[in-house]
């Protein structure tokens, strides 16, 4: 074997060992770097995909009318998303503000984003959106639609971000059930198609199908209180706690436009 090949092999071995020993912080930086590299390809592909899927629409409507319709639709969704978050604030939180002296909360600052693609992996529920750190997005920001909570940002590059959906097993959300004092932790599962599992409920909880579930907004958490999360499909008591199966309020399988909550107004 030539000396050059031996040297190349040695470099490869050193590289493999080095990558295996990387810590989480470095890996997160590398992940953001990879997103940055993939961003132009994904964004171009997303634009092509959108233009292809929009051909039929353009044939049916005037371009100007289409733009106006899109603008109005986006505005409408933004307002509905704000309303979704405000609904609960108008009731529970007003009372909490008075009693506990919580700082008055206002509506959210929302950054609209288009969904570029869904993760092709089988066991992770993530999407990529066309907004990044240049738009004020950072990791661990809530992502919503006009119908409710979608997930949170994880890896962020300059102009693209990855969002882990609430249907992912690793996206845990503190939640409360409407009309009750029941609170639990919601997360996805590997064995269900998009359903959420709300655990750590009381075994004696009297939950009925159709009851709405909202984010609880725990102190120090990522998700603000009052965002629609899902509706109860079923409830069963387990050995130590109660578990409810939820249908997500937002249609996670058909996301096109989302809003990133960058803070309060």
């Amino acid at each position: 074997m030539k000396k050059l090949q031996i040297a190349a092999l040695a470099v490869l071995v050193v590289a493999i060992v080095s990558f295996c020993l990387l810590e989480a912080g470095t890996l997160a930086s590398l992940q953001s770097g990879l997103l940055g590299i993939l961003s132009p390809i994904t964004r171009s592909g997303g634009a092509v995909k959108k233009s292809i899927s929009g051909i039929g629409k353009d044939l049916m409507t005037l371009e100007q009318l289409q733009k106006e319709y899109d603008r109005t639709l986006a505005e409408n969704r933004r307002l509905r998303a704000e309303n979704s978050g405000l609904r609960d604030l108008q009731t529970d939180n007003e009372h909490l503000r008075q009693v506990l002296g919580y700082r008055e909360r206002s509506s959210f600052r929302l950054v609209p984003a288009a969904v570029l693609g869904h993760d092709a992996g089988a066991w992770w529920s993530t999407i990529k959106i066309n907004r990044g750190s240049k738009d004020g997005i950072a990791a661990d920001m809530p992502v919503i639609t006009d119908r409710g909570l979608v997930g949170k940002t994880t890896a962020v590059s300059g102009d693209m971000s990855e969002v882990v959906l609430i249907s992912d097993e690793n996206c845990k959300v503190a939640a409360k059930v409407e009309g009750t004092k029941e609170q639990g932790i919601s997360a996805g599962a590997r064995d269900t198609a998009g359903e959420l599992h709300l655990t750590f409920l009381s075994k004696l909880a009297d939950l009925q199908p159709g009851q709405k579930v909202y984010t609880a907004g725990v102190s120090g958490g990522i998700f603000p209180s009052g965002l629609a999360l899902g509706t109860v499909k079923s409830f069963h008591a387990r050995e130590l706690d109660g578990e409810a199966i939820l249908e997500p309020t937002a249609d996670l399988g058909d996301l096109e436009e989302v809003f990133v909550v960058t803070g309060a107004k």
Binding site: L12, A15, L30, Q31, A122, W123, T154, N170, A193
Partner: protein
Amino acid sequence: MRQALLFIILLILLLVSVALQDLLPAIPIAQSRIQLLPIVFCFAMLALPLLPALYFALITALVQGLLVLQIQAGHSELGLTLPIVFFVSWAIVLQMSSEATHGMRWELHAAGCALVILTLLGGEFLVLCMKRGGFPLDVNIGLQILIPALAAPFIAPTLYFGLRGLVPFTPDAGPVASQPSFNR
């Protein structure tokens, strides 16, 4: 020089495949997703000599590992070790298979893609079961593993001949392919 050019072309295709597989819609059955990255990986393993193939396997492992990376409480759930071991192992196996069959063959590429996807998805599932606990294997999960693997042999030949066209100096483009040789 030719090998370097081939390596760069395959590297670009690897990144394009990652972006493309995210853009493709899910297969209606069990919401399975088409996997393109392993198809490009398998082609590279068959087309490149051993050392560049190992480097390519390392890069593929980094890309795949970082794509599924999730940081939980300051710790990465999977890290890069398992993807590196997985892809380097498959690189060696595919290189040996290629030598055993006297060069690149589209049948080998198609079968390799199916096996790589099957073991990739199955392996990820098993690792997650060990990390997170539980073993929720059901029909839906079985289909999510099987369907992308079964779809791969149908996609692989298209990409194989397409890539061979893009890279006219691939080993089986000329008479070299018919000779048993280690100098691909």
